[in-house]
């Protein structure tokens, strides 16, 4: 399972946050967030105080996984865009670089057309950053040393027991 772990570094994390913040402004959206396909939230921006972003992330990933399953059943590789329309708020979900899920929540102050247009540009930028992360992680694996000390390299039984102490 090691080869597929997602590791986020400070530099790329900042870039990602900048891109999604810009996307939120450009698309006139309320919230923009990024989730990996397993349901882990990567970054979020906008009016997230009132939102349960952890649940949103998990349900989004479940939604995308189910839709992927549907796509395969009819012979498609994936449905790269999902759109849910509500009375006031709408959710636009798209896949970036086949790996990451980009979610945009917007209301009547924006429109599906505008969101689609901005998401396309934002996705290209995000795709490049995730490619960088991938290359960086690969490089570090290949060289056998990490620029960051793994926080878990010397984890002890006591550390783990401490987590479960109430």
């Amino acid at each position: 399972m090691g080869a597929s772990d997602l590791i986020m570094y400070e530099e790329e994390f900042q870039k990602i946050k900048e891109i999604i913040s810009k996307l939120r402004v450009d698309a006139n959206a309320n919230v923009v967030f990024l989730v990996d396909k397993n349901g882990q939230q990567i970054a979020a921006t906008g009016d997230i105080e009132s939102l349960d972003t952890t649940s949103l992330a998990s349900l989004t990933a479940g939604n995308v996984a189910a839709t992927d399953g549907l796509a395969k059943l009819i012979g498609e590789r994936e449905f790269s865009v999902l759109f849910h329309e509500g009375e006031k708020d709408n959710i636009h979900i798209s896949i970036v670089g086949g790996k990451v899920i980009l979610v945009v929540i917007f209301d009547e102050r924006s429109s599906l057309g505008l969101v689609r247009l901005r998401v396309k540009r934002g996705s290209d930028d995000l795709g490049k950053v995730f490619q960088q992360i991938l290359e960086k992680t690969e490089r570090e694996r290949a060289s056998g040393k990490s620029t960051f000390e793994s926080p878990f390299a010397e984890i002890t039984d006591e550390d783990i027991d401490a987590l479960f102490k109430d």
């Binding site: 400070e10 996984a65 926080p151 878990f152 401490a162």
Partner: protein, 194 residues
């Protein structure tokens, strides 16, 4: 697939509860949810049918505290146990870091246990995982029932490798946290090997 964020100093891991229909996977999560400090847990989400059978998954995010300055967060999922939900079950195993297998101790469910375990092995393989190497804990649930099969017999049928096993009565919480802890421990130790 754990997600390590060096920027926000967080680590997220995924544990999936697997097992045949009505074995008590959701009950495990409900007990953990009830007994966990409100600041350490998120909402328990259950995508269930009108009769409270799991349709897609249950989800419970749990903050366990910090290890070496990293916030450690576990995402607990259950799968739908009923045989015909196999496509959904497979989806949930995506990116799993550790598996808890919940077996139903009733004699009448022994075939279902064995079938579901076999299903776990093959669904894991489809995602490129091997049950022999992935962090794994066996929970023998419903030990309080009069029809419960003796422990040795259950272990003989269901033990897959030298995984830790726990006898449990999930609604009363017996064995529930022991099981979770054993699985979380293996997941964290696995991370330390990388």
């Amino acid at each position: 697939m754990s997600f390590i964020n060096y920027s926000s100093r967080e680590i997220n891991c995924k544990i999936v509860y697997y097992g045949p229909g009505l074995c008590g996977k959701t009950t495990n999560l409900q007990y953990i949810y009830e007994k966990t400090n409100p600041t350490a847990k998120g909402k328990l989400i259950s995508l269930a049918t009108e009769t409270d059978r799991t349709l897609f998954f249950d989800f419970l995010p749990l903050d366990l505290g910090t290890v070496r300055g990293f916030k450690t967060r576990f995402h607990l999922y259950t799968v739908p146990g009923q045989v015909f939900y196999d496509a959904s079950r497979k989806l949930i195993l995506k990116g799993v870091d550790g598996v808890v297998y919940v077996a139903d101790s009733q004699e009448a469910r022994m075939d279902a246990n064995a079938e579901s375990l076999q299903n776990l092995v093959s669904n894991l393989q489809d995602h490129g995982f091997d049950l022999k190497t992935i962090p794994y804990v066996l929970q023998l649930n419903k030990r309080d029932l009069p029809t419960a099969v003796p422990l040795e017999e259950m272990l003989k049928t269901l033990r897959y490798k030298d995984e830790p096993y726990y006898e449990a009565v999930a609604p009363k919480g017996i064995g529930v946290f022991d099981t979770l802890k054993a699985c979380a421990k293996q997941v964290l130790l696995e991370l330390s090997k990388k």
